[in-house]
Symmetry: none
Subunit: 206 residues, 4 copies
DNA sequence: GATGAATGAGTCTTCATTCAT
DNA sequence: GATGAATGAAGACTCATTCAT
């Protein structure tokens, strides 16, 4: 069957509607009817553009992680120094309470699914890989600049940055306090920087 | 009363069955029939002990987080120094690939729900508070011992420890590689220690 | 899952309701809701007793063909001579306009399905085999009695009897004229008898 | 008009596509999309040439039975004697395993529908009438030739020929064995001949 | 003439919940 | 206390039909 042919635009529209719907209601509670309602189309249209509900969700997550990654890329590209790039990266991750809430709600549903389903895990792995590429770039630049510990393996350290970002953002989401968003962003930045600066210190004192 | 006791035991049994079931299948896919099957009781029994499916899940998460917390408490109590307590705490959090997988799958489902539902959020907050109490105790002890940065607010820093632990464990879960479990535990420990040691450094260089 | 345990009676009731429903509306138009309505139970009950709609239909056809066969068996057992048994067999097949209509409508749906689906074909083959056993018995008895052509292979001739019966009953059904039922029964009987008597004649004149 | 002609051709094409589709999938499973796919046209075209799905099916069956009848007519016209015409008729009915399978699958679906729906029954009646005209012609010729029982009413006997043909072909279809096709054709021929030869015998011995 | 996007009614199926035994 | 039969609401999915282009 020839699908996806013409209106890729409409597909995107449906995905965005699904994103809003999932964010507000959660994976379990989102029905195709709800997605259709959010997209202001009939139920049949969703099926017309996507084979199944599962497909909608999978495409949603591909689209979403790709979008996040692109934004992060764009924001670090504007900066030159490692520290500024790191700032930019983390600021991009902590974009705003509203957007973080919307995204991380969906992302948590996604992670929960990914913990059991290889298809979702694969998509997340792609996201991780992309984020790690960013992390690696920043670490290596910082090492060249002499401000990050030269002994760190960029390869092994990059994932840790993402782990810390996600850890903080998830906790922030759970706190349900928008006013703490800035605090969490700073905390995250601090933790990452201390991680990149001081592993040698840690080794000495261990 | 003996009867009451027996009831309580059976309740626990059902909760444990629900835990296994949710871990394997996820919140969405778990039905009361499945829980009953895991518990080797009839479907009616589950309803006999719990008002509704929702109640089962809520009780499950109360029980689960309480259990995790107790284990963590027990493990740090055995140690005297701050560093050893921290080790014990993190080792307790990174108990084993199998147990971490089982727990964090459920916990992710839980967090996803909690991001929208105040009831679940409340339960998680209790868990966070408990964990933060542990964190605070360790930080303050370390500060007394002179090995942790004295300028850190224990109150504000304790949550960060949990954020880092969860961040690492979630990423580990996504990697689906049991052999990396140890690596993630060490990375987590390093990050936490560098966080506690070096905030002054960070301040200086910023 | 433990199904089919207790109320086999209710299963039969649902099958009978399905039989009536299919006969009146046809396979395509019969929904589980319709079957439930005919059985005067809720829609869920049908699913409780049968895995799927397909299962209902398959069981229906097993049950139906078994029932027809049993009746035919019972009717020929009462007779002693080959001709009388043949009469009984065909009379049993041409039981009454109402019952023939009800059964053959369903049976035609069944045959249509069986022409493409091995599962249904298998069930029909069982029915054919049973009918052929009846035919064989009659033919061999008639040959012993000296009234049927001794040169006929009972094995090869028995299926022909059923083919002729079905051919006539299907045509009768299409005519939609109850008053012709008797005529078709007699025509069927004649054709079968001439088939059993005269193959030698045919050979001679060919 | 050329336009009209083109239309007619396309209609035939769609009907033929529908025929193939129904034969392979059955009435229930055939959708307009499937028919369109088989005909290599868009879904809209089918609706352009036919009012509704039902119309497609009805026209299909008219077209199909007319086609079969024409072929049978053509084949008996080539022969002179009654026996040869009968041979030709039955050979035409038993044209080949492939074609019989294709046709009788559809025809069974058709009969199943006809058993409840007067519209389809009407079309089939037309087919029966046509077939009976052939049968009558053969019988009367045979009676003139002195090889068929002169006491037979051609009017009443002709339908029986078709009943026997259909009975055998349906059973053959159910056996799913192409190698038996020839056997069933011969058996059908024998049965019809014995039917036409020997009714007087039957009367005598009854 | 032809296309295929859009609609929404209708179907199967699942499952939490109720309740008679 | 315990069971599992019964219910029916709700969801995913299909598909004939319509209609703008």
């Amino acid at each position: 069957m020839v699908r996806y042919k013409k209106s890729e635009e409409k597909q995107k529209m449906i995905l965005y509607a699904a994103f809003q719907a999932v964010s507000e209601l959660g994976f379990d509670s989102v029905t195709l009817q709800v997605i259709a309602d959010y997209a202001k189309v009939s139920k049949g249209v969703v099926h017309y553009y996507f084979e199944s509900k599962e497909t909608v969700l999978i495409e949603l997550l591909k689209w979403l992680t790709a979008k996040i990654y692109k934004k992060e890329c764009a924001s670090i590209e504007l900066e030159k120094s490692a520290v500024k790039k790191l700032h930019a990266y983390i600021s991009s991750a902590f974009v705003s309470p509203e957007k973080n809430r919307t995204f991380y709600r969906v992302y948590l549903d996604f992670l929960a699914k990914a913990s059991r389903n290889p298809v979702y895990r694969e998509i997340n792995q792609q996201f991780y890989d992309n984020c790690n590429a960013i992390g690696k770039e920043i670490i290596q630049l910082g090492q060249k600049e002499g401000i990050f510990d030269i002994n760190l393996s960029a390869e092994q350290t990059a994932p840790k940055i993402r782990a810390v970002i996600d850890g903080y953002l998830i906790q922030w989401l759970m706190m349900d306090r928008d006013d703490l968003h800035k605090f969490y962003r700073e905390a995250c930045l601090q933790t990452v920087i201390s991680m990149l600066n001081n592993s040698s210190f840690f080794e000495l004192r261990k």
